[in-house]
Amino acid sequence: MTSGKVLIIGGGPSGLEAARCVAELGGEAVLIEKRERLGGTPDRESYAKLTHHWRDASEAMAEMSLAVTSNSNVEVKYKAEVKSMSGSAGNFTVEIEAGGVAESLNVGAVIVATGFQHFDPGRATQYYNYYSFPDVITLTDLEKMLKEHNVVRPSNGEAPKKIAFIQCVGSRDRQIGNEYCSKVCCGIASKQAIELRQQLPDSKVMIFYIDMRMYGYWENEIYWPAQEKYHVNYVKGVISEVLKKGDKLLVRGEDTTMSRPMEVTMDMVVLSVGMEPSAGTRAVAQLLGIQQNKYGFIEAGGTGGLDPVATSKAGIFVAGAASGPADLDDSIAKAGLAAARALASVRKVMA
């Protein structure tokens, strides 16, 4: 049976925006979320402040969630996952399981918003010893501590004095296979560096990078203040190894400006781990039978990239980081576009 409903898979920022848009444009949305709460990765990983507008992540996610849960045109199902799908644009039958109960949904369009997961630093080509040394942490680990205003060295509970960020962990690397740039890590690391300098004014923060990539307004709103106001040190030369020296960490790289190898000791090392398709993105892509690119993200773009939310199947759209690395602005914008396209698609069939 043809249906005007839009199914949105994933209740993170992209899914929430898509659902809200569909509802505001007069459509009906069903949003299914794997967890028992909305908010996606920013909620699950306890993000502190969102890059780049410095909005508190919990507040932002609460606002986005409320816009959806308070809208009668959106039905939200928790602990829900897709099991199988059949049909075509305008008339899809999707079997789901919500809270252990099987259910069959009849929808006209689907928006996949299953997002990303962070790269597992143990798979890095360089030797960062994340699973061996307590004081080597990732951006998400640090985000949790920043949120609580309690940044300490996991090894001894003391505030760190010297902190290093290592960029491009799990991205831009042919040996790992993730050849792409994860877009947001330079901005996030710089944002966290600023927060560290605010919370621990005695600390010295260094960022080791291949290229510093803060596009558009991130350059002047994050990069320049990080250097000029907060005196974060940027060194061009990414780190090849983190070893232990006594109770400190030894960080090795090349200072390419000086053209020589360098070794410095740090109290804490933060790995700027990149984005990979989440397990949900991989599973849903298979279940829906939509094409993935060689990295496992959902292939999007339409002809010549003019339709950034189109997948390989008519009636199925993608929003957010499920199709590739994305920042919050990207995700929200694409979610809106996906909502518009999804509604246009169902209305055409029903017309």
Binding site: D120, P121, G122, R123, T125, Y127, N129, Y130, Y131, S132, P134, V136, I137, D141, K144, M145, E148, N150, V152, P154, G157, R174, Q175, I176, G177, N178, E241, L243, K244, K245, G246, L250, G296
Partner: protein
């Protein structure tokens, strides 16, 4: 449950799991598939492992087969020329379990040491040398097991080149035709330290020397794990699967305390050409970057590695540094020699300690081994050899394990 943990505890909990290596998302092509393709096209003979083998994960989660017996021992120049206890220990270990092996005379050096030292060769020559050796092994029916770390790395590199370049295969085949040999590639290129890793439980079962008082540092060989980085063994239980496992796993199994140090990933400084004609580099690097760091940070009784060049460099470089009052004096052994000693191999007839320069006597004394007794015994052998009443030491003299600490 995570709600009851503090943030730091949550972070530590996340870090307590080993890295997960999922072969289905491995970033490289599977060499096994490429070899099967070439075999199907009739371009190569693919030599398969006959008999028992064990499988272990490599860097991207794919499994590698390690044969247990019926192996063709591709010897190392450095072992046989300068550290004969290293090669003898490898074979002694095989003999303890009555494992069938072949020690060929139809084998040349891989010539990798010369190639990396002088560049006085080319891709075709090197590939032909490797292929000749593999064909020789194939003819005997025994599966090649490589003793030297550089041979292993060099052959991995050549395998990549042969698989990817038809013109190279054709050239090598042309040369091999002149000696009536086919182009053979074994289904795995196996390093003996991977066999030691596979056998470590069995070694520990027959351990006669208690090594729990020993602290050792591990030096992993560059050419083992850095060349064709995928093809090296990674074990989730060793270093959380983040560093190559082989030597550390053996030492831990024998009860040795393995200590970390901050130049673990550094090269030893062998340098191929440098160690022969420009040893100021080799010596400085080995002592300043490796030995002194080990002593300052770990104070080990022993350092253990799994390659010819590394044993040579680390062992022989320490003498000259003493004259400059550098901190030196850590004896150097290979994993095979440590395993053999643990199982009661004669320190001189088998492990051949006398070929090692850095003083090993404190190490043996700490183990409670009366090395003087065995040295005197060995001197007796030598006297007999000099007198002509004994032609040499044989496996008969050396096979039986000894309760060394009795």
């Amino acid at each position: 449950m995570t709600d009851t943990l503090t943030t730091v505890e949550q972070i530590l909990e996340r870090k307590s799991h080993p890295v997960i290596r999922d072969a289905s998302v491995a970033p490289t092509e599977d060499m096994h598939d490429r070899l099967l393709e070439l075999e199907a096209k009739g371009e190569i003979i693919l030599q398969r492992i006959k008999g028992d083998y064990v499988e272990f994960p490599t860097k991207y989660g794919r499994m590698k087969k390690i044969p247990i017996e019926h192996t063709w021992h591709h010897k190392s120049c450095g072992h046989c020329g300068h550290i004969p206890g290293y090669a003898s220990s490898i074979l002694w270990l095989h003999r303890q379990f009555n494992l069938d092996y072949h020690d060929p005379t139809d084998q040349t050096s891989c010539t990798g040491w010369n190639y990396y030292a002088s560049g006085a060769s080319n891709a075709v020559g090197q590939a032909a040398v490797m292929s000749r050796n593999f064909a020789a092994a194939y003819e005997t029916g025994y599966f090649p097991m490589i003793h030297c770390g550089t041979s292993f790395g060099h052959y991995k590199e050549i395998r990549e080149q042969l698989v990817h370049h038809k013109e190279l295969r054709d050239e090598v085949r042309r040369i091999l035709d002149k000696m009536g040999k086919p182009l053979v590639i074994p289904e795995e290129i196996v390093h003996y330290s991977e066999w030691v890793y596979a056998m470590r439980d069995r070694f520990a079962e027959r351990q006669l020397v208690d090594m729990s008082k020993i602290t050792a540092t591990v030096h992993p060989a560059c050419h083992y794990y850095k060349i064709v980085a995928e093809d090296a063994i990674y074990d989730p239980e060793i270093y959380g699967g983040q560093r190559t496992a082989v030597v550390t796993a053996l030492l831990e199994k024998l009860g040795i305390n393995v200590a970390d140090y901050s130049t673990w990933f550094d090269c030893c400084g062998f340098g191929f050409r440098h160690v022969l004609v420009q040893r100021d580099f080799t010596r400085s690097y080995a002592v300043l970057r490796k030995i002194e760091t080990m002593i300052n940070e770990a104070n080990p009784d022993l350092t253990v590695t799994h390659d010819t060049g590394c044993v040579t460099t680390l062992d022989k470089s320490q003498f000259a540094a003493k004259a400059h009052d550098r901190k030196v004096g850590v004896p150097v052994l290979s994993d095979a020699q440590v395993a053999a000693l643990a199982m009661g191999a004669h320190p001189f007839r088998v492990v051949q300690f006398h070929w090692h320069s850095t003083d090993w006597r404190p190490f043996l004394e700490k183990l409670g081994i009366n090395w003087q007794k065995y040295w005197d015994e060995f001197q007796g052998d030598l006297d007999q050899i000099r007198a002509g009443t004994k032609s040499g030491i044989t496996w008969e003299d050396a096979d039986a394990p000894i309760n060394l600490t009795a």
